[in-house]
Amino acid sequence: MDNGFSSPRHDAFPAGLRVLVVDDDPTWLKILEKMLKKCSYEVTTCCLAINALNLLRERKDGYDIVISDVNMPDMDGFKLLEYVGLEMDLPVIMMSVDGETSRVMKGVQHGACDYLLKPIRMKELRNIWQHVFRKKIHEVREIENQEGFEGIHILRNASDLSDDGHSFSGEDLTSMRKRKDVDNKHDDKDFGDPSTKKARVVWSVDLHQKFVKAVNQIGFDKVGPKKILDMMNVPWLTRENVASHLQKYRLYLSRLQKENDQKTSLSEVKHSDLLSKDTAASFGLQNSINMHDAVVDSYRSFGGNLQRQNVETKSHRGDLKGIVSELKSETKRNLTCSIPDPLAIKGSQINFNNPFATLESKGNYAALDCTIPTPYCSEPPKIQLRQENKPLLQSENSFSQLPMHGALNQIQVEKRQSIPLVSSKSSITQRDNGGSIDIKPLYADDKTGYASGMSAVGTGVDTFSVQSKSHITDPQISGPISNTTLGMKSQGFNLGCLEDLEYCQRNILFGSEATSTPLDKDFQFCWLQGDFYNLNFGFQNIEMPEYCDPGVTAEVPIHSYDTLRFDYEYPHDTADYSVIDEGLFIA
């Protein structure tokens, strides 16, 4: 075993590629070592999977790629593959003497970027650098998207601040931007820069719960990253990860607090953090949830913020899990979706407060934030949120699932929104916010998908879809939306995000022809009918993924009452936002 800890050599790539080889067969280990050395790679060999994991954990940036045998005595190669992908996010190549299709398929399913058959030829090893390169490109793209997304966040946030949502002051923007930058920077740190591949921590539900438990045990006031880290006792987690996650968590809680305080505000349209946070997923959920409640309540209270509702119903305590489950249970989340009285609120925006949103989601789905413009108020319900822009969204899952279009009905159904998105809970593994859950899988794997144009939306969708996939059990719109989102995953568009997303996207992202009017109508419709949820839901979905940003559309409606302003410029076309932003508490 030789070094493996040297820093990557960028100059002569792929020479100097740091490879970790894991194989219980000593003969093959030696052969591979020799072959890789001949390719001018830096090789480290390991005959036990557990040793390999330790090596990887000790030094997260120590290796560029892992080659592992499938059959090993101490640990199944597929398991190792999963660990590496999850914790370190390195490309993993599987090898075996067994080339049965089922095995190869299993390898790919578990995330292997290649599967080699023994005996391995040297020429096969020469090209493994492409997997490293590919991943790097994706990372860069993601980060870029993320940053691009910020702009949208700011926009949205800014609009949020304004009274009627029509105009935002420069100062607001700046301050928002500043805040966002800070947050983003923090997140960026976790991401690392493109050149150093840093493992992204995926704050799964379980992990987050551990985190919350630790925080509660220590006492929120006395909490500190180091203490939490020690208490959590998760070997591969770093203090950095925890610190970042803690910050998000704090923001989330403070947001909750704020929402509670604002209960009484009527047509206050809050620009939910959702926007900022890409936890679109959570967002979506919330929205749905909130919407649900919100609709009910706000209906009467007229524009009561959903948040309010949410706050009441669900007090999420920063517990991601709780949130998630809440969503599921339809507790209301602080979706800031305030369902403004259609009539009254012209500018009221539905804030989707995403409890999770506290994390500054980069990709905020601001789209979701799309506060459903109250403008609806006068319009007859037409919820056709689905703007024709559908094409934009073309994500695989295509919204078709999302009935948003004209799915008024759908929306209505959703009312309950038990957070289908949430259901994806299972998928919550991803880094994304806890709320949005499972965006990760989609995201993580599908980085490429995001990059594509729809990106913003798409990404959101992805997350969304992810979520929806898993659970969208609820018939509500969320369901459909989520589903779509899931599908979208790679598409980035997860149109599934719902029509809203689409809507948003269309309008925003693509500056496309999003016809604002339809949206208006839709919104109005929704609102009028109290289908608020639906709309929200859609938004939610949209929001969820960072994509929403493009879709910030949610915002759009709000602001431009008359014309849903869809001309948000969405510089980022990459849907990677959401991913980047990791949902709520992803550190």
Binding site: S96, V97, P119
Partner: protein
């Protein structure tokens, strides 16, 4: 002259191993890996292989004495053994491994036993040939077979 003859013999012997199906391209791969940094690479690998695989052979033998036979386990061990054999390019041995695994999956104990006997024969035969080969190569001259230096 003597030297040349020796070298010639070595070359012949080597060729016959391929012709008779004892070795496949993997062996050539190993030879190509041999260079100044590892002048005896092929021999080292072969030695390593036999050391490791003999352990597996006895493991299989033990398991074949069980009653009833644990086919899954046998299959598993044989899978490892096959992987190891593939490392040096032992063609005939590998073929027996595959056959053995087929019998395991069919849960044919007798087939397994028979195949295993055959496998051991091939395994021993190849080992002997390779030993002779390396011996001759050393005699013929250090750089004879080695150094396809890259």
């Amino acid at each position: 002259m003597d030297r040349n003859q020796s070298r010639w013999q070595v070359a012949l012997m080597r060729q016959s191993l391929f012709d008779q199906g004892y070795l496949d391209e993997q062996f050539i791969q190993l030879e190509e890996l041999q260079d100044d940094a590892n002048p005896n690479f092929v021999e080292e690998i072969v030695t390593l292989h036999y050391r490791d695989s003999s352990r597996l052979i006895s493991n299989i033998e033990q398991n074949l004495e069980r009653n009833p036979l644990d086919f899954d386990k046998l299959d598993n061990i044989m899978h490892q053994f096959k992987g190891s054999s593939s490392s040096i390019g032992g063609k005939k041995v590998k073929a027996e491994c595959t056959l053995f695994r087929d019998y395991c999956r069919a849960e044919n104990g007798e087939g397994c036993m028979k195949t295993f006997q055959q496998l051991k024969k091939e395994y021993a035969a190849l080992r002997k040939k390779l030993e002779a080969y390396f011996q001759l190569a050393k005699q013929a001259g250090p750089t004879e077979t080695a150094c396809r230096s890259k």
